[in-house]
């Protein structure tokens, strides 16, 4: 459904994304500079640089694409079902839930990749369930800021539990420390292939649900009046979010604020209709993640900042700006 309102922002976002993807292949923290990388793209004989570009930067770019889409879509979905513009997987403890689940598995002796995806998704599902039960509490669901406060408290609790586990288990701590802050560094294509099936499944289900889900914006009764089942829709949306966030967390660790900033940006570009928002999230999510990732390689070169730190630095001011706005943008 590419209509007039969507076309221009969509074209612009796709162009920018393309440029960013190329930049992500060219720019790095190491000593393979832009020029050498560019030569590799034109088939120059430079084994060192070729390895850096094709085996290090290409996989992390692909992972960035998948993670960005998954987080942005999840944010938009959570906002639609909770009717709250501040709902976001990172803020509401969904990511923290999946991080804790992975930490538990690791300390029980499982190794990193074999159980990570499924456990992360299960943890995300439990996190989602907690969040939604909070939004169903009287009074909280209607107040965006209280929901975020509840989510923040919940997130810190889960993060504290994760830290506790890591303190008690040195082996798990070593394996997980680089992961728990959220980063794309050192991710391989195999990691991506492990989560791609479940993400693709979530995407397919979402495609069938987009239209009914968009009607939730009109309120529960109006949605039912249009022949939908709001309760069922919410449940399915939660499962989709769990698959996406769990998958993204399993490869990149918990990354906050992407799910908040991107849908916010998308709505301001193409209006409040969920269908347009979701389409526009597809290029905008990876755009933001990759830009942040490129920055994370450059800011403190030759070492790297973790991506999660950077998205938090960029995202927190947006959250504060949204909350401070004279009137909170409503989804209802």
């Amino acid at each position: 459904m590419i209509d007039e309102k969507l076309r221009r922002p969509m074209q612009a976002a796709l162009m920018l994304l393309l440029v960013t993807c190329v930049a992500s292949l060219l720019i790095g923290a190491g000593d393979v500079g832009v020029w050498r990388s560019l030569m590799v793209l034109f088939r120059a004989e430079d084994a060192d640089a070729a390895f850096t570009v094709w085996s290090l930067r290409l996989p992390r770019t692909l992972v960035g694409l998948a993670v960005g889409m998954a987080l942005a879509i999840s944010g938009a979905l959570l906002q639609a079902i909770s009717r709250n513009p501040l709902a976001e997987p990172g803020l509401l403890g969904v990511s923290a839930g999946s991080a804790l689940a992975v930490a538990i598995m690791l300390s029980l002796g499982a190794s990193m990749m074999e159980l990570r995806v499924g456990m992360a998704q299960l943890g995300a599902l439990l996190g989602c369930a907690c969040v939604l039960s909070v939004t169903r509490l009287r009074g909280v669901g209607n107040d965006p800021i209280r929901l975020v406060l509840a989510g923040a408290a919940f997130s810190s609790l889960l993060a504290a539990l994760t830290s506790l586990l890591l303190l008690m288990d040195q082996r798990a701590a070593d394996e997980i420390r680089f992961w728990v802050v959220g980063s794309l560094a050192g991710r391989r294509v195999d990691d991506l292939l492990a989560v791609l099936p479940s993400m693709a499944l979530a995407g397919l289900v979402l495609l069938a649900l987009v239209r009914p889900l968009s009607s939730l914006a009109l309120g529960e009764r109006a949605s039912a009046g249009l022949g939908h089942h709001p309760g069922r829709l919410r449940l399915l949306a939660v499962i989709i979010v769990a698959l996406l966030v769990g998958g993204a967390t399993a490869i990149a660790g918990p990354i906050a604020f992407v799910g908040l900033v991107v849908p916010f940006l998308a709505r301001s570009l193409c209006g409040p209709d969920l269908r347009r928002t979701l389409w526009l999230c597809l290029p905008l999510g990876p755009l933001l993640v990759l830009l942040a990732d490129i920055l994370s390689r450059c800011l403190v070169a030759p070492s790297e900042l973790p991506l999660g730190v950077l998205t938090a630095i960029c995202g927190a001011p947006v959250l504060i700006a949204v909350v401070r706005a004279r009137r909170l943008p409503t989804l209802s």
Partner: protein
Amino acid sequence: MNNPSSLEAQPLPDSNVPCLPYEVEALTLRHGRYTVIEELQLGLPSGQLTAIVGPNGCGKSTLLAGLARLHAPAAGRVLLDGRDIRGLPSAELATRVALLPQEALAPEGLTVTDLIRFGRQPHQAWWQQWSEEDQRVVAEALAAAGLESLADRSLDTLSGGQRQRAWIAMTIAQQTPVILLDEPTSALDLGHQLEVFELLRKLVGEGRTIVMVVHDLTSACRYADHLVAMRGGQIVAEGSPGEVVTSQLVRELYDVDCTLVEDPVTGKPLLAGLGRVQ
């Protein structure tokens, strides 16, 4: 007074909207343990505007929710064209009965056309794209509600009456023979109320069956063909406003004394000299 009334009115001869008998049979609706409506019988005349009136808490909105299948009956049935609505697939019900709930919410920035397009959802399967038929119906709904010049305006920039007309246009785009409205005018000033009622009269004139819950008895008398007066979950009186509205009924419903006079212009009953029963 409680018997299921025969379906008096037939749709206009030139109407293309089918007539769907809509009946309530021994309907009991509960909120948790609290019984709101018990064993209620009601027939809604096709092609007419029915107003459900009564004091706060009399069960009129609950009855409307029951008619729309938002509220599952504890006992009894709601029959649409002779079939229990519980047996109908939701999407099919939504092509026969449209609902405008009281708390009609719209996200900020949603335009009139965006809103009306939602009305097409019951007619679209998930794989179907927006069709020319959908486009035509939305344009017709815009025209029917007199909103052509406001099509691309955002809802939050409209007056209350215009906004309510846009919501009604959404139900028009749903192309249902029956439209249910829960207090469509409760938040509107006098001029905007008339704007909405006149639109509803026009839709009834095209052969639709409309059922609305209203607070204002005088408006109900003025615009409804059929009046259902409720108190305590029971139907107290039912029939054409001119026949059933008496000062005794007003006292019974609202504990208010009044004198009924005839509106010199419309000939409909008017409530005068209102005062609470001492």
